[in-house]
Amino acid sequence: MSIEDEYELLSRLELFESLDAIQLKRLIFVSQRYQIQPGEYLFKQGDTTDNVFGILDGEFSVLLNSPNGEIHIAQHGSGELVGEMAVISGEPRAASVRANCACEVIDFESELFISTVINDPRTAFNMMKLLSARLVKLDKKLEQLSAEQFRN
């Protein structure tokens, strides 16, 4: 896969829809591509890394540590972003992300990612929308779980 193919894939992302082609290409160009083995972690909950990954190929699970082992809370596939939260919060990783199969990702360094996203207000807003939607989903899940717990 050369850089052109990577661009083709990532340009379809909702986050990048309002970004200039050249800006996205540049971001991809200066970023590193990685191959990930099945079962390998992109990062683990609590890590202090803060890069963002664009999934080029394969599928990842988002996992949360609990005393009963990891619980699966989401799944991300080709053309999606993972790890964008730590970039903005600066906090340690809130969850782990693990490859379900042989995967390929592009690794955006946090500063580069931020400067690309923030320098374009529309993209920044897209990012916010994306996150908020996720937050609402999560909140709901939380609500559900607490309700279940309450009932039990």
Partner: protein, 1049 residues
Amino acid sequence: MDNGLFAYILKHSKRQQIILMLLTVLSFPFYYLSLDLPKTIINDAISGTDFPVNLSFELPGFSANVGYIEQVPYLLLLCFVFLFLVLINSGFKLFINIYRGMLGERMLRRMRLQLIERIMKFPLARFRNTSQGELVSMVNQETEPLGGFIGDSISLPLYQGGLLLTIVVFMFVQDWKMGLAAIALYPVQAWLIPKLQRQVNLLNRQRTLRIRNLAENLGEVVAGINEIHINDNSGFFRDYFSKLLGGIFNIRVQIYKKKFFIKFLNNSIAQLTPFFFFLIGGLLVIRGDLSIGALVAVLAAYKDLSPPWKELLSWYQGQADSRMRFSVLVDQFHVDNESPPSQESLTQQWLEELPDLSMTASNATLLRHDGIREVDNVSLTVSGGDWISLVGKGASGKSALAQMFAGLVSPTTGKILMADQDISHIPKMTKGRGVSYVGHDSYLFATSIRDNLLISLKFRPQENLLTDTLHDESIQFKNWREEARLSGNSDVDLSANWIDHQSAGAADENELVARMGTALRVVNAEDDLVRYALACTISPDDYPELTERIIQARALFKERIVSQGLESIVEFLDPNQYNDNASLAENILFGASNHDMFSVDGLTEHPLLKTLLKENKLAKTLDDAAIRTAKTMVELFSDLPPGHEFFERYSFVDADDLPELKRILVLIDKTSSIESLAVAERKLIRSLLFRIISGRHRLGLFQGNEKDLILQLRHSFASQLDVEASNLIDFFSPDRFNALTPIAENIIFGRIVFGRMGAEDQVYRIILEVLQSLDLMSPILEIGLSAPTGLAGALLPVSQRQKLLLARGLLKRPKVLVVNEGLSALDSHEIDLILSGIKQEYPRLSLFWVDSQARFPTHFDQVAYLQAGKLVKIEASVPQNTDSEKTQDTTAGRSVRSASSVNEDEKITLLRKIPLFRFLDDPQLMLLAMNCDALNIAQGERLVNQNEPGDALYIIVDGKATVLIANGVSEEEVGQCSINDVIGELALLSDEPRFASVQATTNMAVLRLRREVFIDMLQSNGEIGYQILQVVVNRFSETNRNLANITRS
């Protein structure tokens, strides 16, 4: 030093001054003879008639008759005697001058050292208003003229006075009237000159102070250079200095005027005297009372008379000036010697026998010079091995208190006790062994890291503790030592070992390195140093053994990589393989060189390489690839501003080259050949390609058999280079250390594969494993320790500086460690780690930790809270953060306000409380406030309905509401909200349906921020967007955590 200049001179150089005086006195008879002889030559030998002369000497108890001698031999004899006397006189002068100069320099050396010693004794408070520049100027420049004067101080007036006297006596012997004429005007001068001189002295004093002031200001400018750059103050300071220099100029001009007026007077008066000679002498000769020879001799003597007189006058001027300088200097360096005598029984041994040190402050108070109590009557005990956190705001006195416990500052009243002994009675050396201090102002010297760490162990020279190599005391060294003694300087051996290994608990040099390693590991800095060392290049000539062992490490590294199945993360260097993770240039050269001919640019134009490329049919392919690369670069990067971080990331293209590349591409479009371009243009475009690492840059340039062709090229290039050129390249070889590449690369002997997650970390881990199993950690660490620190540690990042300072404090294994916000650049997590490490490694240590809040509850035994210098409370351990106090219900029993009463300021206050907006500043909040509506809601009305799309956020200004969730048929109350509560915050960002309804239970006043308005604002102001994004994400993490908590239970 405090009793004036002459007392000082006598105290330290009496013997030398006496020797000088004796020499001086001894020289006078010869001088007198040399004056007397010309008369004999003229009167007897030249004008004489009575020949042959009878030569005879008559001394008491001895007489010799040499015989008769004719006129010419007589003249010759007398002339040679005269020549001999002249030589003796010059000899005396030479010897005396050198001796005097040496004496002056010795005293200067002594004085400077004493001043430096005094600086080191200054109490800390003194440095708050004494600048470095001022001190430097005083020790360096202001002492200089004093040194010159001291040599002259006693001998010069004696010598010149003696000369003067000799000459005057000589004149009086010739004729008393002539003598009188010669000195007739001296009284006038002696009266007038000091008067004028006094004015000059005053001016000189002013000048000294102004120059000192200049130095002080200059020092400040250097220290504050950041401010000057950032505020562009250079104009302001230029003007300021211009004024200072103007002031100095004016004083100087006045000094010149006065000084040269004095000279003028002296000269004029001196010229008057010959007038008397010619007049009186002439008359005497005419009357036959004086021989012409005598007059000539007197005139000659008079010529000699004026230099000593001038010298005497200038000595007089000099001594007045020097005494003034000396007193100004001594005043400035005065050190109060009020500290009570130390109790010598409290030796290092006393300290060592104590298992740990308890520290007590009893009624300790510290008064600042302006009367403010920095520490106010604090009493506190910390038992040995306990850890205490001193918590307070900036001006709470925590820092001063910590410095008291470190013994850096003495309390004005009250006491600090160290193991029940008053700390002020404990000898400095003992105290220095027991206490370490790491402050925010601790200093790294501009040497190596190693020397900086060892500073804490260098407190006295060690007498052959470890090395039994007795220095053969060369004559040179003996002289050196003798000279040092004469100047009251240090006579310690030049190569003396100052490092006290015992304090560090090390028996020898190797253990010491291990101890340093431990201290560095505890402060979490060892890793940085090892990494630094691994990035260093070393030469087999300097480290024959180490480089040999690194080759062993190379083999073991490969073995480990293979045995752990990690072949995919390292691509080893192989002479017969193209390395995808190395640049094209590296692949061609397959070696390292620091010669320009073999740099990337140099290679593109290397004649042999060019020929080979043509033969190999690669030239065209590579040129095409270069053009394609250049096109991509121009397309992607040419509209980025220079200095954009992307350029740094993309190592092979430089922002400044892009316009040039663009131009070159246009040229190529016309000629379609790179070869026809100018050399610089060719280099630029071809070097782009040469820098490409195919595994990293993913441009898909080489699709066919190019790589094989490049391998062939590698071999033919290496074999066809002439010997001289070959020697400039250090070729990669599996069994040889490459001196031009870093140690790490020598161990890896390959390239870390791009595109493998965490490959670098894994490689580093294996390198460490290998180093450990081969016992190579210490030598590698030593290379790291030799890294330079720069002035004040400027070459290191602040966090590393602080870690090293702490490591320095730990290395001497103190019993008390005071950390006065000395780790402020580290995050809590790392501090926590370091504290745990300290506790484990140094269990008997008492720790004083200064902080702005109570942190790390598990580590501290006590927390002392300070406020305005007073100890407010002591807690046994740090409590967890308490929840903020619950808001009280104040709405009961009063009427609800109306929405119209909400003004803009109040809106801002309300908005600021919303977590989503907590990072916004006032203007941004103002913007939001202007876009909010204030609404009145009647009791029973619904603010939001469940399942309707959210379109606004509400803040309750007054009134109450209930939160309802529909559950099948009925609605259930799940909560209540009232004043200041926020409803539907997330609706601003997402149009997800409301998950509950909110119904007013009283009349309400609310503030509404509509989604559309909010989004408009966000889109027009990216900054607000980003701030809010951060909050959203934090919320996200929190929800995640809650989720995890719930699943746990």
